[in-house]
Amino acid sequence: MAERARPAAGAGRSPVLKRRSDLGIVLKVGALALVVLGAAPFFLDIYSVNILIRALFLAALALTVDLLWGYTGILTFGQSAFFGIGAYACALVFTHWGFGAGWAVLALALGIVAAMAVAALAGWLAFYHGASPLYGSIVTLALPIVLTQVVFAGGRTTGSSSGLSGFPTYYWTIEIWFWVAGAFLVVVTGLAWLFVRSDMGRILVAIKENETRCAYLGIPVPRIKILLFVVAGGIGAIAGFGYAAFTNVVAPELTGFLLGTELLIWVALGGRGTLIGPVMGAILIDVTSSYLSGGLPFYWKLLVGILFVVVIVALPQGLMPVVANRWRRLVRSAENEAETPVLEVASPRDRAHDEEQPLDVRNVHRNFGSLQVLQGIDFIANKGELLSLVGPNGAGKTTLIRCLADGHERSGGDIAIYGQALGRWPPDRCVALGIGRKFQAANVFATLTVAECLRVARYRLDRPSVWARKSVLALPEAALRIVEETGLAKTLEVEARQLAHGQKQALELAMVLALEPSIVLLDEPTAGLTRVERERIGAILTSLTERERLSILLVEHDLDFVREISSRVIVLHQGRIVLDGSVEDVVGSDLVRQIYSGGVYGERSEES
């Protein structure tokens, strides 16, 4: 299907056409799915239709788990909680308040609102800057457990362990229910498909790959995760509502931990991160277990358990792709047919604060317990300055860079960017103030293409679309220069992990420059570069200070490089600044020579 809709490859396609082809695929496949679903009830027996309706609702729920886990890397046990909220909203309203079109709308709205509120709370708890993924998973684990207990504690109102059943509901024919469930699944899947194929979808993958890098690119990771979690919760609640309205029964199992883990099993077996895989996996496994549950309940569960472990350990892509290889190739080819974006110059953003000092560091210090890594750090950086930070290993250079890029890092002191205090802002807010940090080891997004990496870097200034891929990639002049001069412009479609080391470094630098920073922090940019590459980097950095008037702070060990390009040098030793001056001052200094060779000055400070 996708082959016929594939657009001809080539640059210069208008953005409108690109959006249409993606939308086109979805509409065509969706229409076909609806036709199949429309006809199915007439070919299947009542029992199968019954089972399938339930499976369809559960498949929509599995889809949300794939969005969270397969695409964004959030291992969640909690989607069953939202499913249960939707289901119980339906049952509670219909049992205790009333039944009718108005009540149904109210119940649905209540379910969605309650689910989203709980999701927002859980998200706030779980996804904060510096939270470990394990903690996030634990919060999602606690959700269904808490909810199940709440249901248990509800006595007669919630039916407690026995649940509620027989409440008034829509006793439509089985065909109508099938169409409702099927249409719901098709719509949700279609929208999700558009979403993950859009530019915003790439952001999710970037977050899963390398959350730290995202934070330092100004992407508000916690907020995105919470938002995604809330939306997934809402969809889960709708699925639960439909499920309860159809089956006419709710029980604590619907909100529980076991259902939450079953969803993960379905997604894992179906193939995480493929969207269709989990949907198919959920339907297949749920239907099969219904058929087998009469005869061999234990052996079936044992088989599923074994398959699950095998898949996690050995086949992370799941069973579905192994079984349906052609589908996988289709997906890959459709994705590779994605347009190569056209590069363009972005209009620079407004710089209102041109008179202020770019960087003003006052009395910054950093301790780890009683160990003083940095103390009394005081310096300023001017516009267009190429400031090198040198010093022996352990002097605190990288720590200082970290303090400049992350407001939480330092133990005390003040840092101001263009007069605005860094305060305790997390990295993504520091980026907003104008800091761009390039890491020592090339820190890019391995499975994204070069163009996608750059697009991710433009998040803050060029908000990505949630349902399409733009065909134009606008980069600031500086970034564009790097991309063109280092040959990256010819490798826009190559996955970042396939680039050579030097190319990766250049890509990361381009990404940092795409942020349009005022201050660029670089940690050993020449590490691992050939002489040619080193000269090129030097030229690029120099041109950045001259043409864009950026302030560049550079940690380096290669003193020749430092001598060639720096306009100023700061020498750090044992956490303190021992010298701050021009290149000649530092090069000629006895002090520096002694420090590097561990001489007299070093001994004296050991005594004190």
Partner: protein, 279 residues
């Protein structure tokens, strides 16, 4: 009433401690949450069942359970956990799958019904003016003994030294020539053995059926995350959280009591992600 409350808290804490140590040692050395922990508790319960059915002294069931757990743990580490060294979240899922497998195998092998295990001690005695379950009191002693033995293992043996080095900094330990693969293997076996032993210890108070371990799993690992990797830390965490559970169960509702540990732990971890004791 207060006397009984205090005894309830102390004995509940002792039980939680005994159940959670196995999980803690695995978390410390291997930085991984073993979601098969509940299944190992169940295995311990069934090992005790087998031992008493064979006519052995019920006290022997405990070391027997430990042995069975150790052997199984070593096999599991090799086959399932080792390949997932670099993927801790996946390791949680794989060990959960393992728990399902163990549960189903036990069901197929032993049947789904509840088994009855002879208890080494039964009845109540007068303790500090209260009539209280003797076995629960004995459990406090046994839990303390477990803690002491584990501390001795960690601080007075070569293995313990290696394990502590790996806990602190695995790369550095390997750089110093410690075979961290072997340490991890033995540690997982030890953790499984501790879990099985705890399962055997608690059978006199609960029923032995294939789902024995499940209710303890979530509470155990919440406890371990809150306590950090430290034996005294785990005792303190068990007292605090176990105590909270008992108090809520007694004064509010036993149903909400089941929730207390999970909720309080989640809040504590939000405020202090490294747990009550760091490292």
């Amino acid at each position: 009433m207060v006397g009984v409350l205090v005894l309830d808290i102390v004995t509940t804490a002792a039980i939680l401690f005994a159940v959670a140590t196995g999980l803690m040692i695995i978390l410390g050395v291997m930085k991984l949450i073993n979601f098969a922990h509940g299944a190992f508790l169940t295995i311990g319960g069934y090992a005790a069942y087998v031992a008493t059915s064979l006519g052995w002294n019920p006290w022997l069931a405990i070391p027997f359970a430990a042995l069975v757990g150790f052997l199984l743990g070593v096999i599991v580490e090799h086959v399932i956990v080792r390949p997932l060294y670099a993927r801790p979240l996946d390791a949680i899922l794989a060990t959960w799958g393992l728990g399902i497998i163990i549960g189903q195998l036990i069901t197929i092998g032993f049947g789904r019904q509840v088994q009855f295990v002879e208890s080494p001690i039964s009845g109540a005695i007068d303790f500090l003016g209260q009539s209280y379950s003797l076995y629960r009191l004995v459990l406090v002693v046994l839990a303390l003994a477990m803690g002491a033995a584990l501390t001795a293992l960690l601080y007075f043996t070569r293995f313990g030294l290696n394990a502590r080095a790996v806990i602190m900094n695995e790369d550095l330990a390997r750089g110093l020539g410690i075979d961290s693969t072997k340490v991890r293997l033995l540690t997982f076996g030890l953790g499984a053995a501790l879990a099985s032993m705890a399962g055997a210890l608690i059978t006199p108070l609960i029923s032995v059926d294939p789902n024995l371990g499940l209710p303890w799993l979530v509470n155990s690992f919440m406890l371990v995350l809150v306590s950090g990797v430290s034996i005294p830390g785990l005792m303190v965490a068990a007292l605090i959280l176990g105590g909270a559970q008992v108090i809520v169960s007694t004064y509010f509702s036993a149903i909400l009591g089941g929730l207390t540990i999970v909720v309080i732990a989640a809040v504590i971890l939000r405020v202090r992600p490294q747990g009550l004791t760091s490292g």
